[in-house]
């Protein structure tokens, strides 16, 4: 099956170069490009690309959280295009790194292996199985907030809060809020002082 790829790279020279090289592989039905990060979330949601090739400079901390969250739901590989240093914390986000000096063949091999290899989700630290967003929800639950209050606090819909809660329960196999509070303390998602607002504790 043909794949969709989204290339986000601010340098036109590099971007067009990548499009030219990757386009020649005949693997992709659709190659989309972005020159900045302003529409990137909307493009990802709309295109549901199989691979995102992106310059790490375009990844702000908030966006990196969003990406992790998105990848907990959708199968999307991410490759970094690297020609400068980038924040080490982002390293875990990438399934592959394309260097600016890579030859066409090398890029081909990297893209091929991205397509054929399942994403390594188990690489994550076991204490870190919740996405940043899910951790926010757990933290606010532990502080005694209701679903509605959480949705207001995080600027998400109540429906999304419920979806997060379902996913949290599924991932952790902990159903009660009281149990989640213990989990949150063990994992440093919330500290004991913050619990004082919660009348149920």
């Amino acid at each position: 099956m043909r794949k969709t790829i989204l290339i986000a790279e601010q340098s036109e020279v590099v971007r067009k170069g990548l499009i030219q090289i990757i386009g020649s592989f005949d693997l992709f039905q659709n190659i989309h490009e972005l020159a900045c990060n302003s529409n990137i979330k909307a493009s990802i949601i709309k295109l549901e690309p199989d691979i995102l090739v992106i310059n790490p400079i375009l990844i702000q901390p908030e966006f990196s959280g969003w990406l992790k969250d998105y990848r907990s739901k959708k199968e999307m590989k991410i490759a970094a295009v690297v020609y400068a240093l980038f924040d080490d914390e982002l390293k875990d986000l990438f399934d592959e790194i394309i260097q600016i000096g890579d030859t066409r063949l090398k890029i081909r091999n990297k893209i091929d292996s991205l397509i054929s290899r399942p994403r390594e989700t188990q690489r994550q630290d076991p204490g870190d199985i919740l996405s940043p967003r899910e951790k926010d929800v757990v933290r606010l639950l532990a502080k005694g907030l209701t679903n509605k209050e959480i949705s207001e606090e995080l600027f998400i819909s109540p429906h999304t809060v419920i979806t997060h809660r379902k996913n949290i329960t599924r991932k952790l196999n902990i159903k009660s809020v009281a149990g989640l509070i213990v989990y949150a303390i063990i994992n440093g998602i919330v500290n004991v002082d913050e619990l004082h607002d919660n009348k149920n504790v």
């Binding site: 149990g179 303390i185 619990l195």
Partner: protein, 238 residues
């Protein structure tokens, strides 16, 4: 795996050999260990226990797939309630205090800030279990005993009672859920803290208690509720 169906001619010792969960069951009928080679039939005769009732309880408790529908019509509700109340006593006087002592030992052996919260979680849970049992003992069972004795004492104002087994059924929430959370926290998430053996002992007890509660609830759901419903219908048509 299909569970063994217990029959009248089986030896009590063989039943325990085949299924260790039967250990907690026998004391609820007043049967003490040390019964030699007695069969189910022997012990029921000696101790004046209704044989069919004993088999129904044992099989429903030990076998999740046991559907006792045919035998249900003859079940004596008072016998059933007294058996269930005996189980509640066992939880309150034996199982829960033992669990509490294990939790407190665990607490003294670990040095982690989350232990305070874990203990609170457990304490809250125990309060819930006690509430659940008290509700059954004080509200649900007396009502059921009352309607089952209606034929003997027809002056009871059954029609005026604002309660039914439907209310009980609706309220019959499962109290094992938090137990499973506690188990998972101890198995997967609570960091190692020099507590290896006490944690294993605690987990063993949690697993046994959970299983006991599930089996106990099955008797309430599959036997008690249908039997009392049947009684209620008979009373209505009188």
């Amino acid at each position: 795996m299909a569970e063994l169906i217990i029959t009248a001619e089986m030896k009590l010792s063989d039943i325990i050999e085949a299924n260790k969960r039967a250990l907690v069951l026998f004391p609820r009928f007043g049967i003490e260990l040390g019964f030699g080679d007695k069969t189910v039939e022997d012990i029921c005769r000696n101790m004046d226990i209704d044989l069919q009732f004993f088999l129904l309880m044992v099989n429903t408790f030990l076998n999740p797939d046991y559907f006792p529908d045919k035998k249900l019509k003859n079940v004596d509700v008072e016998m059933l309630i007294s058996y269930l109340a005996e189980s509640h006593n066992y939880y309150l006087e034996e199982r829960i205090p033992y669990l509490q002592s294990l939790i407190s030992q665990f607490k003294h052996n670990v040095d982690h800030p989350a232990i305070v919260q874990l203990e609170k979680f457990f304490d809250q849970y125990i309060v819930e279990v006690k509430d659940h049992l008290a509700y059954e003992d004080e509200t649900a069972f007396p009502y059921m005993a009352m309607i089952s004795s209606y034929r003997k004492k027809p002056d009871i104002p059954v029609g005026q009672v604002d309660y039914s087994v439907g209310v009980f059924e609706e309220r019959h929430d499962n109290i094992e859920e938090k137990l499973s959370d506690l188990k998972n926290l101890l198995i997967k998430y609570f960091p190692p803290a020099g507590d290896r053996y006490i944690r294993i002992r605690l987990l063993n007890e949690l697993v046994d208690f959970e299983e006991d509660l599930i089996n106990h609830a099955r008797i309430e759901d599959k036997v008690l509720i249908p039997v009392v419903k049947h009684l209620e219908q008979k009373l209505k048509s009188m």
